[in-house]
Every structure is written in structure tokens, then in C-alpha cells.
């Protein structure tokens, strides 16, 4: 295994993680760390288990083996209440936005605030407006998810993920279904969030342009061996890795 990452204080640590559906192992023996304010990319070809790994990290699918530690606390060994405390520290942007379709955009963004803060409705409204304008959706408060475009839904999903100013943001294929310009705007927004708020970002992606533009660390999953075959800065991996699978992926099969 190649390891180009510097080992300093870990924010998220994955230890010997194995993900499986019944007896069918999707990924095995994953170990890597994500440092604070990293933009960490989970990459690999289609069907290599990127989304399954993400589900293991965000608490939707219990791993068959191994641990996921948030600041040293093992998520899957926690009591439900402690789990909730950890979950409150992160926001997730799902592939299609996953907005609650029965609620307006404002209600979508407001729900985390209503559930977890003691703010009064006026204050919540102010915060919601702020979050929506950060993603360029000012004035869309009263729209329902079905009334806006796919790209806008994604941005609204991001506004909701940021509602509680989370320490960690997870993105599932952020640029999927976006035009090149919107995809770049989203990349810039991710960098901005990291730089201004110090948010740790974990991105599942196979968009090379985006991977090289924002990622400062990454794990490369291989569908054939069903495990990780490299960790490190994607640009460094491109420059230094000799593994043909990694080279082939990072150069669109040209090398």
C-alpha cells in the first residue's frame, strides 16, 4: 500500500473497517485518517463501494467489522444518545439533495435548527435566509423541492447540511448531474467553507477535475480486490504512484 499522507491529529479515523451485505463483502480492511480541515476524497471506479463506505461513516450502515472513530470516540460502539451527539456534528449532502419533499426549502433548512437549538422562529428565519443565500438561493424560501431544478435542489441540500454549522460535511457525488459551471461553483463553495469555517469535508467522487481541484487527501478504493489500494493527496498520487489502476483512473485511462 502506498501512503503519502502525513499522520497528525486525526479527526475521523477508520480502523480495519469491513463493510458487507450479509456474507457478501463489499470492502474489507480499510484504515485511514481524516485530519481537521482536510478535504478528503473517497474515489474509485463505479461499483467499488464508495457509497457503502460513506453509509458506514455517516451511521446508516453498520460495518461488519472495524471501527469509525470521531475524535477518538468509536461511533458504532456508542449508545444511541452518544451517537446522536456525534451525528449532530456532521452534515450530509446526498446525491439528489434528498430534500424533504413535503416541506418548503425554508422548512427543510429550518428543521435541524428547530430540532437542535432553542432559537425563536424569527431568529431561525434569519439563519435560514443566510444559509440559502450562501448557496445562491436567496428568495426561494417558499418553493417546494419539486418546483426547482436538480442543481438548485442540490444547493438547497447543501444549505440544509450546513444548517447547524457542522464540523464535518459529507458529500455524495456532489458534481453528479450538475453542469460544468455549477460543478465548479460547488467546488469553490466547498473550498470556501473549509477555508473560512475550518470545516472538514469528506467527498465521494469520481469527477477528476473536482478531485484535483479540491482534494488534499484521498483514499482510492479498488472494486476488484475490494479494498483500498492507496492513500494520499490526489495530485501527489498522480505524480508519484506507479500502480497502473491508480494511474489509469487519474488519467482517464490514458496511462
Amino acid at each position: 500500500m502506498e501512503n503519502h499522507a502525513n499522520q497528525t491529529t486525526a479527526h475521523i479515523e477508520v480502523r480495519d473497517l469491513t463493510m458487507a451485505y450479509g456474507s457478501f463483502v463489499i470492502l474489507h480492511d480499510l484504515s485511514f485518517t481524516v485530519k481537521k480541515a482536510d478535504i478528503f476524497i473517497i474515489m474509485g471506479g463505479s461499483g467499488c463501494g464508495k457509497s457503502t463506505l460513506l453509509r458506514g461513516l455517516i451511521g446508516l450502515k453498520e460495518p461488519a467489522k472495524g471501527q469509525v472513530l470521531y475524535d477518538g470516540v468509536s461511533f458504532w460502539d456508542c449508545e444511541p444518545d452518544a451517537k446522536q451527539v456525534i451525528m449532530r456534528r456532521f452534515g450530509v449532502l446526498y446525491q439528489g439533495g434528498a430534500l424533504w419533499s413535503a416541506m418548503t426549502l425554508a422548512e427543510n433548512v429550518a428543521l435541524p435548527l428547530v430540532e437542535y437549538t432553542n432559537l425563536n422562529p424569527a431568529q431561525i428565519k434569519e439563519l435560514v435566509s443566510l444559509k440559502l443565500s450562501l448557496v445562491g438561493l436567496a428568495g426561494f424560501e417558499e418553493f417546494y423541492p419539486s418546483e426547482i431544478s436538480g442543481g438548485m435542489r442540490k444547493r438547497a441540500g447543501l444549505a440544509r447540511a450546513m444548517a447547524l454549522d457542522p464540523d464535518i460535511l459529507f458529500f455524495d457525488e456532489p458534481s453528479a448531474g450538475l453542469d460544468p459551471i455549477s460543478a465548479r461553483h460547488l467546488d469553490e463553495l466547498i473550498l470556501e467553507l473549509r477555508d473560512s469555517l475550518g470545516t472538514t469535508v469528506v467527498v465521494v467522487s469520481h469527477e477528476l477535475a473536482s478531485i484535483f481541484a479540491i482534494g488534499n487527501n484521498s483514499v482510492f478504493l479498488d472494486g476488484e480486490t475490494r479494498t483500498m489500494i492507496a492513500v494520499g493527496n490526489p495530485n501527489k498520487l498522480l505524480a508519484e504512484s506507479n500502480d497502473h489502476k491508480i494511474r489509469s483512473f487519474l488519467t482517464r485511462g490514458e496511462q
Binding site: 446508516l60 451525528m87 449532530r88 450530509v92 446526498y94 439528489g96 434528498a98 428543521l111 435541524p112
Partner: protein, 373 residues
Amino acid sequence: MDISFSLDADNTLVVRLGGDWHIEHGLLSAEELEKKIASTPHLEKVAFEGRGLGEWDSSLLTFLIKLKHFCTQRSIILSSEGLPKGVARLLHLASEVPDKEDAHKKVGRAPFLSRVGEATLEAVKSAGEMLAFIGEAFLALLKLLGGKARFRRCDLTLLIQECGAQALPIISLVSVLVGLILAFVGAVQLKLFGAQIYVADLVGIGMAREMGGMMTAIVMAGRTGAAFAAQLGTMEVNEEIDALKTLGISPMEFLVLPRMLALVLMLPLLCLYADLLGILGGGIIGVGMLHLSPAEYLHETVSALNLTQFAGGLIKAGVFGVLVALSGCFRGMQCGRSAAAVGEAATSSVVTAIVSIIVSDALLTVIYDRIGI
């Protein structure tokens, strides 16, 4: 689709292809050519002569691929030199990546015993899931009683409106007609004895004890239970339920609990309304066909009914409400991640609800009989 072949010197079979190859004209069988290849001794190479080829499409390619497989099996070289460039390239592309053997899905029927076994295991698993769901729903209910359940009050009012007021037209229609039918069937028989006045008893007791609750529940299973299953199923497909979970909000409290509450609160009320309209329907037959006076009919109905009978029906309606809501929500939460799965969830929620309504009705009727209600 012209084809001819001749044996050359140095053990080469030259295949001449000509004319237009179109998929609309069907696929040409390679059998004749294969026979020729198989029957030629010492054949080393198959070559093509494609100058006479007109337009061509996949029909030519499938023909060539079949031929290529056949030749490969017999270690005969298939030279694509004489083919047009496009054909040669596509042929190369199609045979470049070998078939991934484990990629083929096993099709075909499993033996009878293993199918029975699989179905049994599936049934056991599904029963377990249902029990787990009921358990979770109960815990959510306890949380509600403790004032700690998290859901939006405005969702509950909206659902109550959907399951209550908006169901009134269809419930009205169905229960008036059920009352009418009950009265009609009874009237034909009772008239024989000159006892047509007892139609009022028959309709009143029938509606209050049985038909009001059951018909309302069945209508609500089709109308609301299926809607719950489809709503929750679509939320599952769109990852909306995942989004709730990662926010630390239990979908059981946030989505299932208000739906259950709305149905359990509204079904007895709808049942009461259905009872009254059923009696009205019976009255139409009594007055219109049996020439009873409205006052007579009303008086007979009032004297036949008592509160216990209404209460028995309303308790049943409450139980049916729980069952309809449970099966709708259960099937919705269990839904797979595809459009077809949402359809299946809606269908199976109705089936589960109706079966459980009838079974529980039978049980309750026996229990009522035992305790003498």
C-alpha cells in the same frame, strides 16, 4: 445479404460478402458456412472478400461474431483483412473483452423444495421485521406519551385533514350504499313474514356492530394506507429517510407516529359517520320500498340499538385504524430503492391491511360473543 464461399489454395476458405445487410431482413444463419468449415480438412484460415458489400449494420456483426467463436474453438484463424474497416474495428471491439463468467446471472427455476424453503425463510424474516416494526412503533408511542416524541404538529393536522375530512365523500357514498344493500337483502326475506319493520333493526345493528367499521377501514386501507406506503416508499427512494436518520431524527417518530395517530383518531369518527349514513341508506329502502313511515323506522332503529353496540363497532374501528396505519407505514419503510418497489409497497400495504382487518374482525367478534356484548 449475399454470401458465397470457395476454398482457396494454402487451406484458406474465402468468404465473399455482398449486398445490403439490414436487421429488418432478419439475421443470416451461419450454419451452412460452419458446416463447410467443419467438413473441410486441414483448414487453417478463413478470409473475407467484402468489396461487394453495400450497407451493413449489426446483423453482419452478429454473423461474423458467431463465425469468429466457431473458428476460435477449432483453432482456425479468422482474418478480418478483407472486411471494410468499420466492420473489422467493431468486430475487434466486440471480441476484445472476454465474457466475465461470474457476471452472468443464474436464471432458471430452482427446484421445488428449495423454492418452498426460500419462501418459508422469507416469511419468517418478514414476520420478524413486522414484529420489530410494531415494537419500534410502540416505543415511539411511549415517547409520545412521555412528551418526548419529535414530529411537527402541523404535519399531524395536515394528516388528520387528509384522513378525516377529505375522506368524507367516499365514505358517505360507500356507507349509504351498504345500508341500502343490507336493507334490500333483508327486506326481500322479511317481507315474506310481514316483518318488514325489522329491516330497521337489521340495518342498525349490522352497521353499528360490523359494516360501518369494516367498510370504513377497507376504504381507508385503499385510500390512505396505500398513500402512506407510497409516500414513505418514495421518501426512501429519494434518500429523504436517510437524511432524517443522519440528522438524528427517528423516522419512526417523525413520519410514522403522526400517520398512525391521524388514522387512529379519525377512523372511529369516520366509522360513526358511516354508521349514521348506513342507517339513512336503510331508511331510504324502508320508506321508499317497504312503505314504512320515517318516524316508525327511526323509532324501531332507536329501540334496537344501544350504546354498547356502537362502542363495540367503534373499538373495532380503532383497532382497524392501527392496522391500516401499521401496514401502510411498514410496507413504505420496507420499500426498496426503485420505482417498481414503490408500486409493490402500495399494493402489499393494501393486501396486508385488508387481510389483517378481516382476521382481527373475526377475532374481535368471537371475543365480543364470549364476553356477551
